[in-house]
Structure formats: C-alpha cells, structure tokens
Symmetry: C2
Subunit: 398 residues, 2 copies
C-alpha cells in the first residue's frame, strides 16, 4: 500500500523521502483472515506508535486522559489505541502547548497509537453558538465563549500539531432525522471539506500520520454510495463511517452499514465512529467494520452502569448492598478478581473517586475482552456463532 505521505510528496528529494519513510513508518493494513459466513475481517494495522489487532475498540480519552485511569492501568488492560478529542485539546491547553510538550503522546505519557477526531462532532454537539459556511465553522467555546474558527485546513493543522497516528477529516455533522435534501447538501459539503483536508494534509508532510476520510449521507443509501465514491476518488488510507448512532434505531444503523460495506475498499480499514453497545460491536463487525470508538464504557462506568455477559447492572441499586459477588462472575478483570458489588456500591453511594476508577477499569476490560472474543471467533471462522449467541441473549432480555 502506498502511504499517505508517499502519495503526497513529489517535491522532496527521493533520498529524504526514503529516510522519512524508514524512520517514520506510515500506516499498513493487512487482512489476516475473513469469516466464512459473515463479512467479519481479522486484520492487523501498523501505525507509527505500534501495531494493533483488528477489529479494535478505542477507549475515549477526551481531554488527553481516559477519565480516572493512568497510562499504566490502560497498558495493563491491553488497550491498543486511544481516541482523543481535538476540539477539547484545541480549547485547553491548546495544540501549540501540546506540540511543545512532545505532541499528544509525550504530553499524556501514552506510547501506543492514538487517533484524534477532527473536532467537528464536538463543535456540533457541545457549542451553543456556531455558524457553518462552505468555508468552515465559526463557534464559541463551551468553556468560556471565546470565538474559534475551524476549517478543513485548520483541522489538519490542529491534528498535525497533536501528532497522533490517525487523524480525521473535518465533516459537517447532521442531526437525525434529516431530509434527503438536507443530508445531500451536508454530505457534499463534507466531501468538499474532505478534499481540502487531503490537500492541506499533503502539504504538511506529516509522514508519521494517516488521514482517514469520513463517509456521510445520513440514512440514505444513495448518498452514502455517492459519499464513499467521492472519498475513494480523493484517496485515503482508511475510511470512517460518520453520522450514525445519533438517535436512529439500531436496525437502521445496521442497514446503513450493511448497504455501504460492499462499496468500501476491502483492503483499507473501516472505522464506525461513536459506536456502541457490545451488541452493536458484534453486529457491525459481522457487517465488515474494523474499528470502533465510544464513550459508553467509560461514561456509563462513572454513572455506575456496569456491563456483564448477562446484561448490565446498576450498581447503586439497594439489592447490591451486601452482595459479595463480583460484578460478573465470568470476568477476569482486576476489579472482579478483588472487589464485591457491595464495595463498589458503597464507593458509588459515597461519591468516591475510586468508584469511577474501578468501574471504568471493569467496563473497559469488558469491551476489550469482547473485542478479543470477536477476534478469536473470526480466526476460527466461526464468528456467526458469536453473533447467534448475542442475538439469543438479546431476545431473552427483550
């Protein structure tokens, strides 16, 4: 595969180019095997800060930290790659500060891969005042009202300053539901922005990073098809699916992915943004997705919502007051190995910081363990059995 950097740099002497490519390896993706009865793929993605096994789930480290966990704890949970939010880091402490302190990796003390989003989604979901034009978006910080501009070019400058392995094109974010006309207009704006991102990123010569394009188009199959075709013609080393998990029914999300998948390049990683429940992960892996991120395991943890193989438990419930069992008896995480539901309930009721810490460790472990099972089932070409198992449980609970 040609690297993003290689495609972009025709002006550099070949020897310099060669040296850069050797010292700053760009992305490489290989499919190790595919499942026999589903579209699931078992892959390996080489990035500047390490190699990750796919399908992969990326815990979210919004403000340069997965809330409550040290880098050592993330390591011990076998976290392969984190997602951090450019929007938050642009506001605080600012990308220039992060860049001076060794980029986001050096700043937060995390040596494995990181993906940064473009900031677009946060601008659309967090800010009160914003104005979107074809040029970009002007918004006021949700922290102190300061006015910022975010254009495709600025999104690239920002993410190159942060210096993470994978960076994302700026896209226009669409609410659900939206009409076909609105979705079409928004998607075409996103595609124009994607092209400008590509151009700017190539100018920046950042060989250790890879830029992904984002498919938009709401729930409309024709728009999704137009979007992926446009992105392929621009050319990216990886393709994300954006604009889902924004309120539409789950079945609709699965359908969009299912219809889009045959049009996505088979040899490039596919990333479904902001998804989802453990069941969503399995359903979407079966539809050909390789990468996921979601705040659900970490945010739910802080709210005392804990995942188990038999559904979830809400730890504040009185029934756990003297329950000496672990969260999930089948779980091998350090929290389940040591602490009772009763203790975790006590920490939650007492508003203790350790409540968030331990709950987050468990939920992140649960998600990563789910991904590990997914990878194993694909390796054995029996992923359909895992899908069937999950659907059976879902049915029992509904």
């Amino acid at each position: 595969m040609l690297s993003a950097g290689f495609m972009a740099n025709t002006a550099r002497p070949w020897c310099l180019e060669f040296r850069l490519r050797l010292t700053q390896p760009s992305m490489n993706f290989e499919i190790l095997n595919t499942d026999s009865k589903t579209r699931a793929r078992r892959g390996r993605l080489q990035l500047s800060h390490g190699t990750i096994e796919t399908p992969v789930f990326m815990p979210v480290g919004t403000q340069a930290t997965v809330k409550g966990l040290t880098p050592e704890q993330l390591h011990s949970l076998s976290v392969q790659i984190l997602l951090c939010n450019s929007y938050h880091l642009m506001l605080r402490p600012g990308e220039a500060t992060v860049s001076k302190l060794g980029g986001l990796h050096g700043f937060m003390g995390w040596d494995r891969p990181i993906l940064t989003d473009s900031g677009g989604y946060q601008v659309f979901s967090l800010t009160k005042f914003r104005k979107v034009t074809d040029d970009g978006v002007r918004f006021q910080s949700h922290l102190d009202g300061t006015t910022y501009d975010l254009s495709p070019e600025k999104a690239m400058d920002l993410q190159v300053a942060l210096g993470c392995d994978i960076i994302m094109a700026l896209d226009d974010c669409l609410p659900y539901p939206s009409t076909h006309e609105t979705a079409a207009q928004s998607m075409r704006r996103s595609m124009a922005w994607a092209e400008r991102c590509r151009i700017r990123f190539d100018q920046l010569d950042s060989h250790s990073q890879s830029l992904f394009g984002i498919v938009q188009g709401g729930i409309y199959a024709d728009l999704r098809k137009e979007s992926i075709d446009r992105l392929i013609s621009i050319g990216f080393p990886g393709y994300a699916v954006g604009g889902l998990a924004v309120g539409e029914p789950n079945a609709m999300m699965y359908d969009v992915v299912e219809e889009l998948e045959p049009h996505m390049p088979a040899d490039k990683p596919r990333y479904l943004m902001g998804v989802g429940t453990p069941e969503d992960l399995i359903e979407c892996v079966s539809r050909g997705i390789d990468m996921f991120d979601c705040v659900m395991p970490t945010r739910h943890a802080r709210n005392g919502w804990l995942f188990t193989r038999d559904g979830h438990i809400v730890i504040k419930n009185a029934q756990y007051k003297e329950d000496d069992r672990p969260i999930d008896e089948a779980c091998r995480c350090p929290v389940c190995g040591k602490h009772s539901r009763a203790y975790l309930r006590h920490l939650f009721m007492a508003g203790e910081i350790l409540s968030s810490v331990l709950n987050t460790i468990h939920n992140v472990y649960f998600y990563l363990d789910t991904m590990q099972r997914i990878r194993q089932f694909i390796e054995f070409r029996r992923f359909d059995e895992l899908v069937a198992e999950v659907r059976k449980k879902e049915l029992r609970r509904s």
Copy 2:
C-alpha cells in the same frame, strides 16, 4: 510483651486461649535502635495483617478507600498501614455490612494492617448537632440527620465489627484554645471513657486487634502527665497523643510532645494523631513519636498542592502551563518519572479525575519517602542531621 487479649481473658480455658494466640497473633513492638542525639526510635511493629517499620506514616482512607487509589497502587507505593474512619463507616455502609463482607480488610480489598479511629474526632468536627454527657455522645449524621449514639462501649463494638489491627479508645475532643479547667474536665472524661473502652474490648475477646489509649489534656503539661499516668494504670499496648494539630502554633505542639514523651512507656508505640507536614513528622520523630496519620498529603493533592523537597508547588499556577519538568526532579515516584507539570496542570484545570489520582500518588510517595529517609537516618544514628537539614530549609523559606 503480654497481648491485650492475654491480659483480658481470665475466664477462658488456657488451651483455647493458647490456640487463639497462635492463630491470631496480637501486637508486638520492638525498638531496633535509637538515635544518638535525638529521641528518635527505629522500631518494628507486628500486627495481625503484617509487620510495619516505624516511624511510620499512615495515609488516610476515610470511607474505606484512599481517595482515587486502588489497593494495587497503594501496594506499589509501599504503604504499610492505612487509617480508616469508624464514623464514616458506621454511617455508610454501616459496620454490620462491613463485618458481613469480611471486615474492613475484606470489604476494601486491602491485606496489610489498618488502624481505625474511634469516630470521636469526626463527631466533634463534622456534626452540627451533638450532645455530650459522661455516658457518651448523641449526634446527628452529617449526611442525613439520622440520630446516632456513640459511647465507649459502642466505639469498641463498632471497631471490633470493622476488625482492624489497631483500634482507638473513644475520647472527648477539645477545641483550641481551651482553659485549663475545661481541658481538665474533658481529659478526665476521656480517661473514664478509656477505662470503659478497655473493659468492653476485653469482654469482646478480639485477639487479632489491639486497643490504643489516647492522651488528652490540651496544651497543659500537668494534664498531659495526669492523662498518661491514668492510661498506663489502665494498661494499653500503645499510646496515642490526641488533641494536637487543632490550631495551636507548631512550636506549642512540639513542646507538648517533648514534655509528654519522658512519661510515655519507652517499650510501647507512640502515635501522634492527625499530624502533619513533612517538617512536623521530622520534628516529632526527633521527640520520640513512632506513628502518624494526616489527610494532608491526600487532601492537598486533590487541591493541586504538591510537595517537593524544596517546598510545595500549586499546580494550577500559570507558570506551569508549558513546564515540561516533573513535580520534583529528585523524586522517583511513578508520576515524576512520567508526567510533566504542564500535563498535571492541564488535568487540574480540566477538572479531570486523573488529576486527583496522579497528585495523590505523588504526595503519598513523598510522605512515605520522607518516612523512609527518617528511618535510614535513625539507623545510621544521624537523625539530627536530617532535623538540621529541614530546619535550614524552613529558615530559608521563611
């Protein structure tokens, strides 16, 4: 040394007594060496859950957790013994619940020694409504206003239910300043309570625990002398100094300890409650104290106040925004080994949980490292050099 349990139990058959003493070892304290020019002592205290090296600092785990840290993190910081607050645990989740879940050790997943206080200090400092009589204290919970009674007998029942290695007699807590008359009255009440605690504790036959008496008497040397004499006549395996660090000048606190020390049994551990700064620890070790506890390292950590060998830094200050140095360049803690002041400032400003976690790790490490240095200097019989070093630094800063 006779164990508290051995002294107490005359009604039991000797064989049962023997078995209990074998399976549930009570306390043993030995002085390994003393300093040449100060009253500092290097000791070793054997408790049911392990042996601790003294002088020792006990981090505070108020509600069955050192705020933000997992038991594994406490282990890796070489925490030898924790202090937990009976008052908080009585209110939430209740001592009966803790007892059912394996006692405080099992409940919180901590396998090394724990000391519980009696709850007296919290009743006097946290509750809005309370009524003290010779019998005990009636108070309303600071959480929900529920009325509770705490008597010497109840304080023993409570702490025996929690099941920790060292438990404390209930004492009447005196504000500073107080007149000699008030202090005398309060001290004598505390001594009467101490005797009732001793009787009740002996009835409870809890051989794995040791009960310490608490010297009171405010800043008055004659009352302190009367108090320790009374406690010695009741007989305890260890003696605490209470009622200090409540607002009096530091020099006055040092004087009280210095005047009291010759009257305290030399072969028993001495515990100065609620003290203090790193300088206080060194000053009071030089006056013969073996054990300390204080919320300062942990509470200050959460407020962004970080200890260094050259004083403290307030991490929110703008000067640290792009400071890539660790908190303390001489510190070997895991935070200083990995994270910059700039990152720690960012976490603090962003209100991140990890701010509390990392700051707490550093401050607890700093305190325990100070204790380690204290023990080494005593072993070399050169503790006066450490005292001189600290006084020189104090002088430079003032």
